[in-house]
């Protein structure tokens, strides 16, 4: 018999057709050409003007489509992020997807007491360590806006904590050109210099413009710094439907894309060929509470749409979110919202997916939530990998063996099952599938409890390969106030 070789279809979500894609893109270009943007960075403004942008009497900078096209064609199609030991762990290209935590939560759910409290530097350390120990978390963000760090250097301190507690890639925040330079110094310390960092970057900067269409000076300082040093950066704005942007998703996307394109144009003019991760954040402003929702279907839908636009038009790797919730505690709502965004982000092949583990619309971080998401990502990955069809998986021989075998033949006893079950099935670690009695005997615990125990176990048992004393000393020096 000839072996059956069949290519595997991997489920892929599409939400826009070509006409919709072009209409949104053209609207973004029209915003840039007709309305223009407020560029509050004199250097960036000068760069745009020299490149042919016109400035209105009121200071609105109008950007021609030609500049956008140039920037789109000069930005690299692939961004490779490395871990801190120099392994290429995150090739951001095509349909590759990677998950990680989020930044700057004001509060944290204390893993010991379950209480929501102000987050600290120790929390940034704990989250980094947890990420280091979870197989489906690919990169770390701070998850903490610590109350106990000096505010002028808050991002330098959280960066140092992350570096000390994980060797995975880091997506970091900075305030201005001043502190980003310090963070850059630390990153150089870790890998042994500027050249090594440029060759194998383990950091990516997250910065935000202000919707609608405002580009503050300190934000552009960071963008220019990254463009010059070739540090990968993304620059989404808060073009949330009903908040910074129109309430209708098409308009909010057009605005957010326009804002991203402005960042890209300046970035490529300053550092042609420097890596730029594309993608606005288009969630919704809740019409009752005015929070920006982290559990809504709209955000998942707009980033699925952006993935379609990447495939059809932009070709650049994209930024996304998942695994977060508006719920205040890790309850059923948190599970439902986290799973919805995790599986749709994966099915639409967003590339760098952050914010995993947030509760309370991004204001509170939870170690348990990250731990749960780690399992939900595994579950989604199983689904997204599709069904492998070949001679082995069709298992006709096993079927014949069992059906026609001696009385008492069962698949569970067959070699085929023994050889394949680890790959053929999704084997949950935290989701409960015990029979009722055993579940009751083991304490009737829910998923939150399982995740709490697992998070604590990882924090106490997981060993992060430590940085050398030399590197640690260097970091301490950079942290000293001058």
């Amino acid at each position: 018999m000839k072996p059956t070789e069949v290519p595997t279809f991997r489920p892929r979500l599409k939400v826009l057709n070509r006409e919709q894609i072009l209409a949104i893109h053209n609207a973004a270009l029209e915003i840039l050409e007709k309305t223009g943007v407020k560029m509050e960075h004199p250097g960036a403004l000068g760069t745009l003007v020299s490149a042919g942008c016109k400035v209105s009497d009121q200071g609105w900078v109008r950007i021609p489509a030609k500049l956008v096209e140039d920037a789109l064609s000069s930005a690299p199609r692939q961004i490779d992020l490395y871990d801190q030991k120099g392994n290429k762990t995150m090739p951001l290209v095509n349909g590759n997807y990677f998950y990680g935590t989020g930044s700057d939560a004001t509060f944290t759910v204390d893993v010991e007491t379950g209480e929501r409290r102000r987050s600290t530097l120790k929390d940034a350390a704990n989250f980094a360590k947890l990420v280091d120990g979870l197989e489906n978390m690919d990169f770390a963000m701070s998850m903490s806006n610590p109350a106990d760090a000096p505010i002028e250097d808050i991002y330098v301190h959280v960066f140092a904590e992350m570096v000390k507690n994980t060797n995975k890639p880091i997506v970091f925040i900075a305030d201005s050109g001043r502190d980003i330079a310090k963070i850059y110094q630390i990153a150089c310390q870790v890998v042994g210099g500027e050249e090594a960092l440029q060759k194998k970057p383990f950091i990516l900067n997250y910065s935000e413009a202000i919707s609608p269409l405002r580009f503050p000076e300190n934000v552009m300082d960071r963008l220019i710094f990254c463009a010059e040093k070739r540090i990968p950066i993304c620059l989404p704005s808060g073009s949330n439907a009903g908040g910074g942007a129109p309430v209708t998703l098409a308009g909010a996307m057009a605005l957010g894309i326009a804002e991203n394109l402005v960042g890209l144009v300046v970035h490529q003019l300053v550092g042609k060929g420097s890596p730029f991760l594309f993608g606005p954040n288009v969630s919704t402003l809740d019409m009752k509470s005015t929070i920006v929702s982290y559990g809504c279907p709209e955000w998942s839908l707009t980033q699925a749409a952006l993935a379609d636009m990447r495939d059809e038009l932009y070709g650049l790797p994209i930024w996304a979110y998942a695994g977060a919730s508006d719920a205040k505690v890790m309850d059923a709502q948190a599970g439902a919202e986290a799973m919805f965004s995790i599986v749709t982000a994966m099915l639409s092949r967003a590339n760098l997916i952050h914010d995993v583990g947030f509760l309370e619309y991004g204001s509170t971080s939870s170690l348990e939530m990250v731990t749960m998401a780690n399992e939900l990502i595994a579950m989604s990955r199983f689904f997204t990998d599709g069904i492998t069809v070949n001679e082995e998986t069709l298992a006709l021989e096993a079927i014949e063996r069992i059906a026609t075998g001696a009385p008492g033949s069962i698949f569970l006893m067959d070699d085929h099952t023994f050889e394949h079950f680890m790959q053929a099935q999704f084997l949950p670690k935290l989701l409960d599938r015990f029979r009722y009695d055993s579940w009751e005997e083991s304490g009737s615990s829910d998923l939150y409890k399982h995740c709490n125990i697992e998070a604590k176990r990882i924090l106490s048992e997981h060993q992060v390969e430590p940085k050398s004393t030399e590197v640690l000393k260097g970091i301490e020096q950079i942290l000293q106030p001058h």
């Binding site: 509050e40 004001t106 102000r118 405002r214 503050p216 009752k288």
Partner: protein, 212 residues
Amino acid sequence: MSDFKALSEAVNKGDTKTALVEAQKALDAGSSAEEILNKGLITAMNEVGDKFSKGLLFVPQMLRSAKTMQECTKLLQPFFQEGDVLSKGKVLIGTVKGDLHDIGKNLVSMMLEGAGFTITDMGVDVSPEKFVEKTREVKPDIIALSALLSTTMPAMAQTIEALQKAGLRDKAKVMIGGAPVTEKYAQQINADSYASDAGSAVNKAKALLGIS
């Protein structure tokens, strides 16, 4: 004497056109502008505020009502008499230095105005010096400071210090708000009050001035 039922209904619905007609009718029927404002418009807006805080209204509906009230107040403007009690209090509001975010601040302004406060909005990126200067000029009952970024929160403390130095700190109450702001931070920097959102900003402002 009127119960302003139709006017109140129009404000509740955010139906500006009908509200203006009803306000004019009330004036024509002999009601005073002050009475129309206080018994008609502000009472209606209190109802709107109540419904909003109970989750029965969405923000755009509430803002439409506030806008309706503003338009009616404009209509009444020429008819106010000296000595009329027209405002719950004066609020000076702005986003602090270094911060350019204004959605939250604008929302708080609209809500306070709807509740009967008089607003002076200084916009975004307002330095402590500018707050001091404007406080001297406007003599507000409340100074409201907004910040979205944790890195601009210290500018709230600096603004309060500047008011202190200028001898103005005890002339007005200071309330603060914004995503990274907490009750504890308000206490730390010697603010009088903290509000977590626009709806509670109104209640906090009223509480600060001891009015209902």
